[in-house]
């Protein structure tokens, strides 16, 4: 269990990145406060995954600097679990560096937390998509992780499971607070989860709009603050239907 969240830090300064001729990110600045839940929304192919790879350290930026402090882990869209390990073995990857004597209790606690009692010795391919992503969540919050990067973690799930997983994530974070950078193309997901939404514009990406959502979690997508934010994001993408449009029909 992590008590002290103040050690985590994550920031990008003037970061640019390109693959060959294709510029993906240009002069991006981003500072994530400890304990904050930041959601990056943008169309697919706008460099969101590149951004996360830069944040995790898997990629080095071509120019600019990345500052990171604390243990960073990533939740991927799907198939991030090792298929040759059981649920328990996958989760205990997250405890590798932690104190061995705590393993057993911690594992049991995590499995209870994601409601997968009885599936401890199942392999990922024997679980449904939603169950697999819950194991992923347990693995990243296990031990002493500080920062979670989430790369469209629920996008491969069916709609209802996706809705349930959002609530699940909020619940887990209340029990085990972490700094989160969450990438998605789903506007609803963004407004339901975020403390701060950053809207990314198309390639080369830059942050075109920043929104604070101050109402506490868990919240509904139909809450006033969320509806407000949804409108602003739709407007930013040029997808908002104005009164003018309605009158035309």
């Amino acid at each position: 269990m992590k008590d002290n969240q103040l050690t985590s830090g994550l920031s990008l300064q003037n970061v640019s990145h390109a693959y060959g001729e294709v510029k993906v990110l240009q002069n991006l600045n981003l500072t994530v406060k400890p304990g904050e839940f930041v959601v990056l929304v943008g169309p697919s192919g706008c460099g969101k995954t590149t951004l996360l790879n830069l944040l995790s350290g898997y990629l080095q930026p071509q120019s600019g600097s990345v500052h990171r402090e604390g243990i960073i882990r990533t939740v991927y869209q799907q198939d991030g679990l090792f298929p040759w390990l059981t649920v328990t073995e996958n989760i205990s990857m997250g405890l590798r560096l932690a104190d061995k004597s705590r393993h057993k209790n911690e594992l049991r606690e995590l499995i209870e937390l994601i409601h997968l009692q009885g599936f401890e010795n199942h392999y990922p391919h024997q679980l449904s998509g939603g169950m697999r992503q819950r194991v992923e969540l347990a693995r990243v919050i296990a031990g002493d992780s500080d920062i979670l990067l989430m790369d469209e973690p629920f996008s491969a799930l069916d709609y209802q499971t996706r809705l349930r997983m959002r609530l699940e994530l909020v619940r887990l974070l209340q029990k085990r607070p972490r700094t989160v950078v969450f990438v998605t193309h789903d506007i609803e997901e963004a407004v339901q989860l975020a403390d701060r939404v950053l809207v990314l514009a198309d390639r080369p990406s830059y942050i075109s709009r920043e929104l604070q959502i101050t109402s506490p979690r868990p919240r509904n997508t139909t809450d006033d603050t969320a509806v407000e934010a949804t409108k602003a994001i739709l407007h930013e993408f040029g997808l908002e239907v104005t009164d003018n449009d309605k009158n035309k029909l």
Binding site: R73, F82, H122, Y123, H125, Q126, S128
Partner: protein, 271 residues
């Protein structure tokens, strides 16, 4: 909630299992009987002279002879031993070599042409060297088995490593797997299902090669048995050895299939 039960394909669900099992035994049996009948007719109508085409009855008789003489069991043990040693040595060297080559692009580039070159050399081409280097006994046969198994196995493991999804390495990076631990805890289990499949294929090659390998420099073994039968124009005895070779090959493959039932490799066959 338990997805394993739901996801069972219809033809494997319990109600269908009984007719399924009868089919699995019955259909091959029908084909086998047809095969025997064709063989018997071919002998009956003298398509080939009887010294060149022993009938099923002749083969059965010679089986009895060989078993009574006790030579057959001795030959089986000798061949199994040689294949096992040759196969074991080549697996023990080819799997680590394949893992290493798969992970290092530069060494892969350096060694790939040479490995490919040797892969296409028939192990039979090595026979003169086998005799000159290892004289007679088990060693030349083991050497030939090794030469036939090492190269295809190393190449198969290498290309399996090259196709591991990058996501596993990203996850490994997140959780601090490095160096030797990365190799044993991520790379190796990620290709284990493919290694098992390659082992089955390569074992097939080794078992085919043993017959030729034992025709030189050996005084026993199934291959030697066939060679001797040919020299004495006892083709009934040769067929009897061929039957044993085929059955043992199938049997050992069944044993290797058991490896695919290990719980931590099932994922590789069920997706």
């Amino acid at each position: 909630m338990n997805k394993t039960d739901e996801s069972l394909p219809l033809h494997l669900s319990p109600i269908f299992q009984r007719p399924q099992r009868m089919k699995a035994i019955g259909l091959p049996l029908v084909v086998f009987i047809c095969f025997l009948a064709t063989w018997w007719f071919a002998c009956k109508f003298n398509i080939f002279p009887s010294y060149a085409m022993p009938s099923p009855m002749d083969v059965l008789k010679s089986f009895k002879e060989e078993i009574v003489a006790g030579r057959l069991v001795n030959d089986i043990v000798a061949s199994l031993w040689r294949v096992f040693i040759g196969f074991f040595i080549s697996a023990a060297l080819a799997i680590p070599a394949g893992l290493w080559l798969g992970q290092h692009a530069a060494s892969r580039q350096a060694f790939l042409p040479l490995l490919n070159f040797f892969r296409f050399l028939s192990p039979l081409a090595w026979i003169p060297f086998a005799i000159l280097w290892f004289h007679i006994g088990d060693k030349p046969a083991v050497f030939l088995i090794f030469m036939s198994a090492f190269f295809p196995l190393a190449l198969a493991v290498m290309s399996a490593v090259a196709t591991i999804p990058t996501i596993y390495f990203r996850v490994a990076y997140d959780y601090n797997y490095k160096g030797f631990e990365l190799l044993t805890k991520v790379t190796f289990p990620a290709v284990l299902p493919q290694i098992i499949t390659s082992l089955r294929v390569v074992y097939g090659i080794a078992w085919v090669v043993i017959v030729a390998a034992e025709m030189v420099g050996c005084q026993d073994g199934l291959g030697y048995g066939i060679w001797e039968a040919r020299n004495g124009l006892r083709l009934d005895s040769a067929v009897c050895y061929m039957v044993i070779i085929g059955l043992l090959g199938m049997g050992i493959d069944r044993l290797l299939v058991q490896l695919t039932k290990l719980p931590n490799v099932r994922w590789g066959y069920e997706r």
